[in-house]
Symmetry: C2
Subunit: 202 residues, 2 copies
Amino acid sequence: MSRMSSTSRPYHHGDLRAALLKSAERTLREKGVGALSLRELARDTGVSHAAPGRHFKDKQALIDALALDGYERLNRALGAAADQPGLTFEGRMTALARAYLGFAVENPELLELMFARKHDPDGSAQLAAAVDQSLGSLTRMMADAQERGEIVAGDPERITTVAAASLHGLAALIASCALDAEEAMNGLDEHVHLLLHGLKPR
Amino acid sequence: MSRMSSTSRPYHHGDLRAALLKSAERTLREKGVGALSLRELARDTGVSHAAPGRHFKDKQALIDALALDGYERLNRALGAAADQPGLTFEGRMTALARAYLGFAVENPELLELMFARKHDPDGSAQLAAAVDQSLGSLTRMMADAQERGEIVAGDPERITTVAAASLHGLAALIASCALDAEEAMNGLDEHVHLLLHGLKPR
DNA sequence: ACCTGAACACCGTTCAAGT
DNA sequence: ACCTGAACACCGTTCAAGT
């Protein structure tokens, strides 16, 4: 009678799972993976310390869920960049690179988490699919370009790997603070140009 | 009188610090960063749980020491590869790449740790120097090549970044199991060739 | 100087019990 | 179905005390 809200909901939450994920991403962003604690998450969400166990069997399960959410956002960004019409191949490649690096700059801790070699063999099927989708945007672009003769012939997977390594390397160096983010973004056009035209003089 | 060894040494160890590091690297390799525990390390080394505190002010300090040791080994490998005589530029680049990827394949967990964005601002001066030395091998190689006109003109730092991102991307993808290690090693010559000659047809 | 042993404030995970 | 509260076995870190 004295409570103001949620007359019909059981306990505190309609969607504790979502609330926990939201809170987790916040502390991930602000304090890093090391500061993630199920108990603190429960406290912040106003729930008992055992409640998260109902929604995530493990701490790793929560981390995997964060990673999966990250991939979904990244894949939307990559897809949108790759599908832009009216661009040259180099233009599309640059747009894709910009989308990826932008994500890395905005979500460095999350990116690290997405690429960590942890992965619960149970829940990792979804994660594997999400990773494939990320590479998919790039693979399609390379296959298209190859058909049009805009890039060299050869095993398309190998060629995709070269491009992927170049972009992921930049993203990883940014996320780990080995490279200044702003500087990398400013040099991005030239980076892509060098990737396509090579380091050797023509 | 009844002990067989170390008649003059205090307690159990002549070099507890080294013993802890050795044990730590072993569990890092076998069970991952998440399994590192100062208390377990102390138990494995036959010492009280507070003893590690004398040698590492923090768990992070031990991790930083592991990372520093990793950089020292990596830098020796990179230096040896970069200084090989009688090679073309592409040959030296390939040797450097092979050294780096070899390290990544042999020490995936350690590499992840070396590139984690943690770094105690206190002890990180040494770490920063070690990182610089790693990049140094590559930077010198690029500067040499540029002088001889073997690679394109332009800001040498930018060009070094392109090569570094390409190699580090491969290494990171291998370490995170996103790329099959053997496959990547087999394709390494072609990878370097594409890096130098570009993805566009000539 | 180097280590011990107890203490403190945290964890993740499990499980009977409540609503 | 969903959550609580207590319990268990661990942590990292600190600090007086021992040798």
